[in-house]
């Protein structure tokens, strides 16, 4: 590291020394280029998603990230010297980003995806450092400190966790693969950190590397399987489908992004170059397939146009809204945009509900979430792409509607219950991680006490048997 730093300084000095007459312009240009490069990398890494609170100043932190063990508050990473990273050296910046260690030596929680960012190249780190130091406005407002419940407030335990679960090695290209695949691998495994949402995690919240990108749960949303599996994943998607989805948030006849993915596309992925998006697509299409046996055909291939209009027209709605049939609810609230047969608008801009992963998955949780919350993009003012119906529809109505949708437009084995809607409406099933960890600790302590007790007894027995002869 020190050698590298000296080399960098040397390079800078050399650059300054050479071309003296045009030095100022060259340095400005190369600085500007470096900063622009760093800006792009920061977009790819989607730093704003966590480090900018809604309505807050860019990168000033303060956003609480809900985790099963409590809220982790994202920090101020503006170059403020009092409240941010203004005093960080490039090494310290790199350590925080790639090793999860702050300037004061404390560990960061892996809500900061440093295990993924470990793959980021030195060149990108250097550029990002330049961007954050020179192009981001300092905000001298400190964020609230993160206070997690015992034992998770002991940051030092992260060292053990890192040892067990984190591979710190930076990305090395695979010479047997194309440059495009390598670029895609670098992005996906590193900056765009897709596996942080899309990979399943073990009990201690570490990613299961053997099931990379097979799908992950985030509170109430499911980040789906994006491996090359033809049924469960995106194996049947063309590269263009993937690029379309990452740029515009939907792929016709396949899927559309909602929840956290809509946010990721809005803030980050839609701004990547076409070449980078194609690289990501190339890499994803080669990720080893992970198959869920529940998916007996591609999740986007279910359903067909359908209506029950003959039974609806001229029939008054029941007074009790919870007695409305699925077809009646669809007619009143959904068919306006998704059309009478679920086929979507002429140009596909208002999507079809069949041949759509929204209705085709064997787990319909995301369907319920979209009905509740709609789809809104936020980066240029609120863009309501689909309104939510949490206010208009009861748990029972959403259950009736959801089951009707999956039966006729999607996977008929996926049905929705009112209890499920109630849970999702409240933000998902509560995690027991805290309870389990504390129980485990109690067990460990009891075991240690028992072992010590055993040892003491043995010692006493020995003393008795030897000490009185």
């Amino acid at each position: 590291m020190n050698t590298q730093r000296i080399c960098q300084l040397g390079a800078l000095v050399t650059a300054l020394a050479c071309g003296h007459a045009a030095a100022a312009t060259t340095t400005d240009n190369s600085n500007a280029t470096l900063i622009q490069h760093g800006h792009y990398a920061a977009i790819a890494g989607d730093c704003v998603a966590c480090h900018t609170a809604p309505g807050g100043k860019p990168f000033a932190g303060g956003l609480p990230l809900p985790t099963p063990i409590g809220n982790i508050i994202a920090t101020n990473i503006t170059p403020s010297k009092t409240a941010g990273i203004g005093n960080y050296t490039e090494q310290q910046f790199s350590d925080a980003l790639r090793r999860g260690i702050r300037a004061d030596g404390a560990h960061l929680y892996p809500a900061m995806p440093y295990p993924s960012y470990a793959q980021i190249s030195d060149a990108d780190v250097q550029a990002m450092y330049a961007y954050f130091m020179h192009a981001v406005t300092p905000v001298d407002v400190a964020t609230a400190p993160t206070r997690l419940p015992f034992p998770f407030n002991i940051r030092q335990s992260m060292a053990v966790w890192n040892l067990l679960f984190v591979d710190n090695k930076p990305f090395t290209p695979d010479p047997g693969k194309s440059p495009e695949w390598n670029r895609g691998a670098y992005l996906v495994r590193g900056l765009t950190h897709c596996s942080d949402c899309h990979s399943p995690r073990n009990l201690l919240m570490a990613k299961q590397s053997s099931r990379d990108l097979a799908g992950g749960e985030l509170d109430a949303w499911l980040a789906p399987n994006i491996t090359s599996d033809v049924n469960s994943g995106i194996g049947g998607w063309s590269s263009q489908d993937i690029v379309d989805d990452l740029r515009s948030g939907h792929a016709t006849g396949k899927a559309q992004a909602a929840g956290g993915m809509a946010e990721a596309i809005d803030n980050s992925l839609q701004h990547l170059t076409s070449a980078d998006l194609l690289a990501i697509a190339t890499y994803l299409k080669a990720v080893p397939a992970q198959h869920d046996p529940a998916d007996t055909q591609p999740v986007y291939s279910w359903g067909a146009a359908f209506d029950e209009l003959d039974s609806l027209r001229g029939v008054p709605l029941p007074k009790d809204a919870n007695q409305m049939s699925g077809a009646q609810i669809y007619d009143a609230y959904c068919s306006t945009c998704h059309q009478a047969r679920g086929q979507g608008s002429f140009d596909g801009g208002l999507p079809s509900l069949f041949h759509n992963t929204a209705t085709g998955r064997s787990q319909p949780g995301n369907l319920v979430m979209v009905i509740l919350h709609g789809i809104q993009w936020q980066s240029h003012g609120t863009d309501v792409r689909m309104p939510g119906f949490a206010h208009e529809l009861s748990d029972q109505q959403i259950a009736t509607l959801g089951s009707w949708l999956t039966r006729h437009y999607g996977n008929p084995s996926a049905s929705v219950s009112a209890d499920q809607v109630k849970t999702l409406r409240a933000g998902g099933a509560p995690s027991h991680l805290l309870l389990i960890t504390r129980l485990a600790m109690v067990v460990v302590v009891l075991v240690i006490i028992a072992i010590i007790g055993m040892l003491i007894r043995r010692k006493r027995r020995k003393a008795r048997s030897t000490g009185h002869s």
Partner: protein
């Protein structure tokens, strides 16, 4: 659940004016109670009701009246609620429900012209308003930012700040009108409370072409949004509360209002300030109903003007076939109009008018026509397509002058709650009829420019009504000839204010809703001035507060 029986501010009527006034009071810390005669409605159910309706051209078909709070309906037969005294029919349509009549408007949200407020001084007709356009300008702006108005600036109404939104995308049919009518006529995008982008947490228009009777996606602002915002800001809203009497004290200050619930149990509500916002027919009806020994002619009626000077906008029209396929029905219902005939020296002789182009799908009316004409067999589809693609319409929106004989009174007939029904006395004067004749030349010229055939003028002397109920509680500086002052305060009762299209003393040529909202905001500000501007009063925050 205990019913609230007292509040700082009591608002009668939860339509767009009443609800926005309530919202403004509530955000400024007042306790507010809104009493609404009708029920709460659900947008999805209205959509389903319309699709299941047997009367697709009847905008009231998805809004059946409640027995305890009836509103007028005319199909399949007249329910006789708005008694017609003549000589000319006044078949007003309105909705008594939470959110009021803007559930089914076309979201036309126009400003007046500066001269509209001075037609007496300028042209010797009508009356002058007790304020200038310049005084109204900032309130117009605020109203536009609250409800989200999209428009083009070249309509004759000056403005100091831009619209909150760009004009709504122009349908192909309207573009062809604009291109072919130039330079004889300037066709411009209408000023509408319709989203050309997401605004206020509501999506942009997706072209349902059913603005009337219902916008299924809430891309156009409705009184329901205002009622939601008022409740979110802390106002209490009691639906199914039919106010039947306003009670005053010995000094003439309003002390309380009395309302029936659907079981006809009477409730009394007290307050400090009272806002009457029950539309231009129900409000004067209530004032007249509240007659007492001290006020034998009804409340706020020392001038005798309550209910008088009833005005609306009559329309006559021309329907014809253009010589190219335009296919009305793609996009919003009322996208474009001609605004250059709204003012001029001629106003001393005949009424000004706006010329409106409709974009309402012609399929339903053509189908009815073909069936009536006995067009059967393969010809039916051919003709349906040919006519639906080419049939277009231009109509005028005519000013009527305030005439004291045009008025709302109490009928001797009573509704199901035993409350006297409103009675309409209406006629359309020569000032307006002369303008209808003049406009036929414009109609003919427009048809000519569009290669029109099959010209069908509406019958002479027969006018369609536009449901812009104005004049019945007119503003003015002279208590002898007006019901309220320029701030909507009734001359007779210092704590009774009116927020309604009914306070407009002249009708001009524009749909009255935006003006009524601007006046309502100005009235609230007069009663309880807003605190000094902070970031929370920026337009973005206003937009968000209505999300």
């Amino acid at each position: 659940m205990s019913l609230q029986s007292s509040a700082d501010v009591v608002v009668i009527g939860s339509g767009i004016c009443g609800s926005l006034a309530a919202w403004r009071f509530a955000t400024q810390g007042a306790s507010v109670l809104i009493l609404e005669a009708g029920p709460r409605l659900d947008r999805g159910r209205i959509v389903a009701a319309f699709r299941n309706s047997t009367r697709r051209g009847d905008w009231m078909s998805p809004y059946p009246p409640s027995p305890w709070a009836p509103h007028p309906i005319y199909k399949p037969k007249d329910n006789g609620y708005l008694v017609q005294a003549g000589p000319y029919p006044y078949p007003a349509e309105y909705i008594r429900a939470v959110g009021g009549t803007t559930w089914h408007w076309a979201a036309q949200a126009w400003r007046l012209l500066p001269n509209d407020l001075r037609i007496k001084s300028l042209y010797g007709v009508g009356v002058d308003w007790p304020m200038t356009y310049e005084e109204l300008d900032p309130w117009y702006q605020e109203a536009e930012e609250i409800i989200g108005v999209a428009g083009a600036p070249n309509t004759g109404s000056p403005r100091s700040k831009p619209f909150p939104m760009e004009p709504v995308a122009e349908p192909w049919s309207m573009r062809r009108f604009r291109e072919r009518l130039a330079p004889s006529y300037a066709v411009v995008a209408n000023t509408v409370a319709r989203n050309s982008r997401s605004y206020g947490g509501r999506p942009a228009c997706v072209g349902n072409n059913s603005c009337q009777p219902i916008c299924p996606v809430n891309a156009q602002y409705t009184g329901d949004n205002a009622a939601d915002a008022a409740e979110a800001a802390g106002a209490k809203l009691v639906p199914n509360a039919v106010v039947y009497r306003i009670e005053h004290d010995a000094q003439g200050r309003i002390a309380a209002v009395h309302y029936y619930d659907p079981d006809k149990t009477s409730h009394r509500v007290t307050g400090k300030t009272f806002i009457l916002a029950a539309n231009g027919i129900e409000s004067p009806k209530l004032l007249l109903l509240s007659a007492s020994s001290k006020y034998p002619n009804g409340l706020a009626n020392s001038s005798g003007m309550v209910g008088r000077h009833l005005m609306d906008h009559p329309s006559s029209s021309l329907t014809f076939y253009a010589d190219e396929e335009l296919w009305l029905g793609r996009g919003p219902q009322s996208p474009s109009s001609i605004n250059t005939l709204r003012d001029g020296a001629f106003r001393s002789e005949h009424a000004p008018y706006r010329l409106d182009f409709t974009n309402i799908s012609q399929v339903y009316s053509v189908t009815q026509y073909l069936i009536k004409e006995g067009v059967y067999g393969p010809e039916f589809e051919k003709q349906l397509r040919w006519r639906a693609a080419r049939q277009v319409n231009v109509k005028n929106v005519l000013e009527v002058l305030p005439d004291p004989d045009n008025r709302i009174t109490l009928s001797s007939e009573k509704d199901a709650m035993g409350i006297p029904k409103p009675e309409a006395h209406y006629s359309i004067g020569d000032y307006t009829r002369r303008a209808a004749d003049v406009s036929k030349a414009d109609f003919a010229r427009i048809a000519e420019l569009m290669g029109g055939t099959g010209l069908r003028y509406s019958a002479d002397g027969q006018f369609a009504n536009n449901q812009h109920i104005t004049g019945t509680m007119g503003m003015g500086s002279d208590p002898a000839t007006s019901v309220t002052d320029g701030y909507g305060r009734t001359h007779d009762h210092e704590n009774l204010f009116i927020c309604s299209t009914g306070v407009m003393p002249t009708a001009a040529t524009m749909n009255s809703t935006l003006t009524a909202i601007a006046l309502a905001l100005r009235t609230v500000n007069h009663i309880q001035p807003a605190p000094a501007p902070t970031s929370s009063t920026t337009s973005a925050a206003r937009e968000e507060s209505h999300a």
